[in-house]
Amino acid sequence: MKPTVTSQLKKFLIKNIVVIVFVVISILAFIASKQSLYFLMSQLLERISRNSFLVLSLLIPVMAGMGLNFSIIIGAMAGQAALIIVTNYQIAFWNGFGGIMLAMLIAVPMAAIFGILTGMLLNKTKGQEMIASMIVGFFANGIYQFIFLFAVGGLFTVRNKDLLLTSGVGLRNSITFTETLKFGLDFGGVTKVPFFNILMVVSVIIILVYLGLFFIKKKLTVKQKSGIVVSAAVLVFSALIMYTNIFPLQIRMLKSLTFPAVSGLFIALLCGFNMIIIKTKLGQDFRAVGQNQHIAAVSGINVNRVRIIAITISTILAAWGQIIFLQEIGVMNTFGSHVQIAQFSVAALLVGGATVSKATNNNAIVGVILFHTLFIVSPFAGKELFGDPQIGEFFRTFVAYGVIGLSLGLYAWKTLFTNKK
């Protein structure tokens, strides 16, 4: 029997309830904010290119059953330390691209060591991974502050004296990367290209790949077919925006939106990595451990090792994510930039429809879009609705914390419920 349309619709609604709720809230908040679509889009694209990589770094621990990895803040600290080192030696070849690459390279061993240590700790706190990963983040932050406030300049010498406080010990509160590393990943902004051009290229690639598949396998799944249709639509729409004037001004303005192409490429590569890793033996181990540690152990999988690997990968990716994030902003708040990174990334992932036990690339990307739309417009909405932008700001913090709390609570409730059965 074929499922009816209504029952299918119901299923779809239930499955995507979180996303739907946030789409509605975002749209309402956007309307209330009285901001232009162009403003929203330009802000949003910036934030997508900055934040997506960090959010995507959360996926593997979820797969390995370790829940939401609040300890990515430790990876972020490794990233910042790497950037500080690169800035110290003022390495900035290829318009800063070389410097960023070097920072990413330096970050790897640091993040790997931190990741292994974190993983070992989380193996000692099984069942309480999330609270432990949060507290270990706070703890590491204390050590980070100790190093960069009291040890640097004293125990470690610093070549670039501009980094230091006037006393000669400890780093300044904010470090600017202008002219050296800012936008280094996109060669100082050289590869920042019109957004709709990127869309066109991407949709052409998707169409070609699927067509190629069709010629090899002689058939396509529904998903692949709809992929072709959607890509074609995007292609046409983008072309119309770029090369014609048929749309109203509000939409025509979008033509000048830009997107950093190399950052985008990095995000796409990470999405690809997340997809490919599932298909490897390691990915299978992640899944097995994630589903049932006991059975995985009985079949000879070294559960603790697999968990450490998962956290280590996540930590390294978070370090890169933080480097991408900071080089786009161009300024690092030495003791503040990383603090909220875990909360916001986790919140974004959950808004995108992920749960404690299941998270996909789509969840991450959709989540970043929705969460940051809300982030951009809510102060304006607060001002328009209540005459106070602060209300909007508090609202978005509430959303960030609330969605995490609610998601964790519902998951715990569900687990308890199924265990009782």
Partner: protein
């Protein structure tokens, strides 16, 4: 040199800190043979298997004596992984399957077939190789076909009926190419009758491929159906090992149970003609692992009634259900009044008291003092040991102390004082504290479960004497649940044997070993009615 036996275990002896659990056991299994291993709980079956699989628990307790030979060669297996390497496989009682994985993924769990790729070649890492799902599906299909299972190898395990899950486990074992010996640990415990028949069919198919099977079970009819050879263990000793054709159900049943009673039996002279103090009607208790599935029973005033049976059959669940510890259904009448179910405090109000089978998990507050442990339930249930100040009531330290001291004396609890934490006490003394706590409520009916498990012989005698005393002198009705049949036979007026969640029968303590054995294995009705011996 070709060897006759795939597995030989010679002169296996094992003790846990002086307590001998296996005594000079010899076991020989031929290729292609289905070898049934029988015994009550605690007979030594699981220890023997732990030795075979090189479980850490064996090595951490000083190893064992004797030798294990595989295909005639002496081996020293020190880990389950090594056992696997030698071609020994296990089909677990509780399924070792991941529900969110497909059948193929489960069959190939941690034995995945992989293909190399650029990255994996560069890093020389098997972990980074791609899964070859086609090859894996093919293998699983072959294993499933061997067992004549028609299900799709790419179906999710969570969507399978229970009976198939067992078969998937077997498929996983036979997919291991070198498999020589397969151990089935109570495989039919969770299966329906037809599923069990399927399974036995599958076992015969496997044996037909030359793989030896060790079949651990308590169901004698299945033994008769499947096995070629039967070995019976009792109290760590080998009782018998012979071809099935040379024995019958009655003999095996008697061999499993029969033993010299270690505790002197009191002679029960007169038949008690008393009224019914408690009756159970269609009692169902949803206790994991010990489910009760419809028990009818009348308990007479002033009797000691024993509840026996094998582990997992539901005997433990009855007392827990009466006390409202697990979700319960049915009807319980006490002194002609209906008991409100699933409400522990109601059970106490009906003058019941309970000594749990799980002494450390349920019976004690391990970090609290002896006196607090003894007093707390009475404080909760009867409001004893309290001083009132207006609307508030506080604990009365001296009353609690005095009572605890008298209990310590009465039950001979060996301790440094009533303030000692119960965690520091020996098993026997802990059990006495549990008993003291129950008696402090001054019950009419006492439910005791496994009162002598893990208790030294001196304390055992004292506890049993105390129960007898309570029954005789104070007229207390006692419902005693125990895995030790001998113990039940030594003090009970009647013994109820529970099998598969139901009452299999009620016996006098002096009934024959054969009857006890048949009832415990659930074959009593079949044998007596159908006569399939």
């Amino acid at each position: 040199m070709k060897n006759d036996y795939v597995l030989e275990m010679n002169g296996i002896t094992k003790d846990y800190s002086g307590n001998v659990v296996l005594n000079n056991i010899n076991l020989k299994v031929k290729p292609g043979e289905i070898h049934a291993l029988l015994g009550e709980n605690g007979a030594g079956k699981s220890t023997l298997m732990n030795i075979l699989f090189g479980m850490p628990v064996i090595h951490s307790t000083g190893g064992f004596n004797g030798e294990v030979k595989l295909n005639g060669e002496v081996v020293n297996i020190i880990s389950p992984k090594e056992a696997m390497g030698h071609g020994i496989g296990m089909v677990h009682q509780e399924f070792m399957l991941i529900p969110g994985f497909t059948i193929t993924e489960n069959i190939k769990l941690n034995r995945e077939i992989t293909r190399r790729n650029i990255v994996s070649s560069v890093f020389r890492s098997k972990a980074l190789e791609f899964l070859d799902s086609e090859a894996m599906s093919k293998d699983s299909r072959k294993a499933l076909d061997t067992l004549n299972i028609g299900i799709d190898e790419n179906a999710y395990v969570s969507s399978l009926p229970v009976g198939y899950m067992q078969l998937v486990e077997i498929a996983r074992e036979i997919d291991k190419r070198n498999i020589k010996l397969l151990v089935f640990d109570e495989p039919t415990a969770v299966l329906t009758e037809s599923e069990a028949e399927n399974l036995i069919g599958a076992m015969k198919v496997i044996a037909g491929h030359g793989i030896a099977i060790l079949f651990i079970t308590h169901r004698l009819d299945e033994v008769m159906m499947a096995a070629d050879t039967v070995t019976v263990l009792r109290d760590g000793n080998l009782v018998v090992s012979k071809p099935k054709t040379e024995t019958n159900v009655m003999e095996i049943a008697a061999l499993m149970v029969g033993r010299e009673l270690s505790i002197t039996k009191t002679v029960k002279t007169e038949e008690k003609e008393a009224d019914v103090v408690m009756s159970l009607r269609n009692l169902q208790v949803n206790m994991p692992g010990e489910a009760v599935k419809g028990v009818d029973l009348d308990i007479k005033r002033g009797e000691i009634i024993g509840i026996g049976g094998l582990a997992g059959q539901g005997k433990i669940g009855i007392a827990n259900g009466i006390m409202g510890m697990f979700e319960t259904d049915g009807e319980i009448t006490i002194n002609n009044e209906k008991l409100v179910l699933n409400n522990t405090i109601e059970s106490y109000n009906k003058k019941l008291a309970f000594v749990s089978e799980d002494r450390k998990g349920v019976g004690l507050l391990l970090d609290s003092s002896i006196e607090d442990n003894i007093a707390i339930t009475a404080i909760r249930v009867n409001g004893d040991f309290l001083k009132k100040f207006g609307p508030f009531s506080f604990r009365d330290d001296s009353k609690i102390r005095n009572h605890a001291e008298s209990m310590v004396k009465e039950l001979d609890i060996r301790c440094t004082g009533t303030k000692q934490e119960t965690r520091r006490l020996s098993g026997g003394n802990q059990q006495k504290v549990c008993l003291a706590r129950a008696l402090t409520i001054e019950p009419e009916i006492l439910l005791v479960s496994e009162p002598t498990r893990g208790v030294d012989i001196g304390a055992k005698q004292l506890i049993l004497d105390k129960l007898r005393f309570l029954n005789k002198e104070l007229g207390m009705t006692i419902i005693m649940t125990s895995s030790e049949l001998a113990e039940l036979r030594s003090i009970c007026d009647r013994i109820v044997i529970v099998c598969e969640g139901k009452v299999e029968g009620v016996l006098k303590p002096d009934a024959s070993d054969v009857d006890f054995g048949l009832m415990m294995s659930g074959d009593y009705k079949k044998v007596k009615v159908g006569g399939i011996a």
